[in-house]
Subunit: 323 residues, 2 copies
Amino acid sequence: MTGSDYEPDINELDLSDEERDRFADAQRPLWEVIAASLRADILEARYTPGAPLPSETALSTRYSVSRPTVRDAVKALVGEGLVSVVRGRGTFVRAVPDRHAILLGAWPRHDIADAEFIPTAHQWGWTQLAAPHADDDEGRQVYSRSEFNAANRDIATTLGLRTGHTVFHRSSRWRHTTTGLIIGVNSYTVPEIIPVPAPKPNVADAFVHAFTQPSFYDTITSGRGPTTWETTVTARMPYADERELMALSVGSPILIIRRILADKDGRPLEMTEIKADAERIETAYARENHDTYPEGFDPDIHDIEQLADRPDPAPTGRILFLL
Amino acid sequence: MTGSDYEPDINELDLSDEERDRFADAQRPLWEVIAASLRADILEARYTPGAPLPSETALSTRYSVSRPTVRDAVKALVGEGLVSVVRGRGTFVRAVPDRHAILLGAWPRHDIADAEFIPTAHQWGWTQLAAPHADDDEGRQVYSRSEFNAANRDIATTLGLRTGHTVFHRSSRWRHTTTGLIIGVNSYTVPEIIPVPAPKPNVADAFVHAFTQPSFYDTITSGRGPTTWETTVTARMPYADERELMALSVGSPILIIRRILADKDGRPLEMTEIKADAERIETAYARENHDTYPEGFDPDIHDIEQLADRPDPAPTGRILFLL
DNA sequence: CATCATTTGTGCGTATGTATC
DNA sequence: AGATACATACGCACAAATGAT
C-alpha cells in the first residue's frame, strides 16, 4: 500500500524542508503537528473507519521526518482511541462500537454472594470466567476468589476504614455472551459484620458462616436496616494487566461503577465495584424523574421495561445488566 | 487509587544484566518489564506520591538499558496516570486527588438556557469561562457560543436524528472556584421544536424566539409533556484540544454525563452533555433506593441534604453540582 | 508448504534543545 | 554560569507478524 489514493488537501501537509523550519519556529513539536494533521483527516472523514493510514515509512516520506517521529504522532492518536495499530498489517481508523447500558438503581437488587445473583446474571446473558491467578489446592482454576485483604487507601476511604484495615474481598469476571464484553466484579465487605470467629478470620470460615446462608445480604444487614444504596460512577485508565484481562482496546478507559451499601446510620457495610470497557459501556439510571407520573404509575415496576422498549434508546444499544 | 487487584510479580523486579537476558528469552519487551517493575514500586508505596523517580539516565544504568527504552517504560506509566513528568525536573509519582461528585437526578432541574441556571451555578461556586474560539463581531470574547450545526453521528444517534441533521448547539465552560475544576457544558436541541421562522433558522432568530422567553424549557416542552429525563454516564480519552481547554492531566479520561430530555412519547427533545476530568469527578445519584423509607420521608426533598451530610461520604469530598 | 516483500515492534547510539535548580 | 533532567529528532539494525506469491 503506497497511500497514493490519499488526497492531501491541508496546508499543514506535505512539509517541505523550509516549511519544516517554519513549524520548528512555531515551537510546536513535529510529531504534534503531524498528529494534528492526521487527527483532522480522521475526524473530517478523509480516512473512514476501518481504512488504513499510509504506512509509517510512507508518512515519514510525506512529512519529511524520520520514522520514529511519525511513530510518536501515531502513538498520540492511539492514546486518543482514534486508530489502532496491527503489527505486520498497518494502522487503521477505529470504528467506534455502539455503547450498551448497565442499568443502575433497578429492582430487584442482589448481593453478589446471594443465590439469586448468578441465575439473574445468566438470565441477562453473562457467564462467569475463571478468575485470574486463582487456582484451588489441586491447581484447578476457580471462578471467583475470596480472601481477606488489607484495604488500600481507596477501598478504605470508601468503606470508612483506615488504610490497611482487613476487608473481605470477592472477585470474579464475567463475559457477555452475545457482545463478548468482559466485566470485572469486585466486592469488599467490612469484616466486622461477617459472623466469623475472632480473632483470626479466614476464607474457609467466611464461606461456612456467610455463603452457606440463603442470603449474604440478609446476613450482613441483619439488625442494621433500613439500609441505603449509593451508586457512583467514574473512570480511569486501566493498568496493563487490567487491559489484558478485560480485552480492552488500547486507549479506552475503564468505567468504574460502585454501589455502596450503608446501614441505617449511613455507615458503609459493603462496596461492590464493576469495571467495564468505557468505550462499550455506559450507565443509565432506571428511576428517572418525570414531571408528572401517570395515574397509578409505579416507577419501581415500570421503568425498566420503559427504558428497554424506548423506540430509539439513544446511543445505548441494549440494556445488559442491572445493578 | 486502587491497584488493590493488581498483583505485581516481585520476581521480575531489579533486573541485573544476567536477568535481563533471561527476560529477553521470555519474549517480553524490556520497556514492559521495566514499566511493571516501576509500577509495582509505586503501587506498593516504595515510591510515595510526590516523590521523584530516579532520573532517566539513572534508571537506564540500573536496568542496563538505553535511555529511549527507559522513556518507553515511563510513557506507559504516564498513560496509566501513575506518574507525571516535568521537563528539567524529573518524573514524579502522582498524588491522586480526591474525587468530587456531580449529583444526578436532583431537583430542581434547570435547562442550561433558563434564567435559573446561571444563579444556581453561581450558588454552587461555578463561574463561566470565555468560550474558546468565540469572539463577537468586535473581537471581544464571549462566554458561550450558540449556533446551528450539523449533528455528527454521535449526537444524531442520541437525538434520534440522521447524521448531518441541523441541531441547535450551545456550548460553555465553567470553573469551580475553590477546586479549580473546569467542566465543559454542551447542549444540543432538536431544531424543529424551537419556534424560529422557517426555512433558514439562524442564531439571532433563536435568541429572539427562545432565549428572551422566561424559560427555554417551557418553550421547547410546551404541549409535549409530561417529559422524561434520562441520564447516562460514560468516559473516553480526551483529544489534545480538550486536554488543554479543561486543564486535564495526561492520562486522565473525561467523564461524559449526558442528560436527555424526551417528550411524552419518548422522542428526544434536547441533550445536555457535561465533560469533566474523570480523575477528579464522579457521579452520584440523588434518588437512591431504600429498603424502606421512614414515615413521612420524601426522597425528592431530603436526599440531597442526606448525601451532603453523610458522615463519611465515600471517596467524594463534596457535592459540586446538580444535574 | 515455503518464500518474500511489506509493515510494525523493539532497541541502540547519538546529537541538540530547553527547562529547572 | 553550570549541572542536571527531560524533550525532540535522526539514523540504524534486527525481530516478528502478515499477506501474497
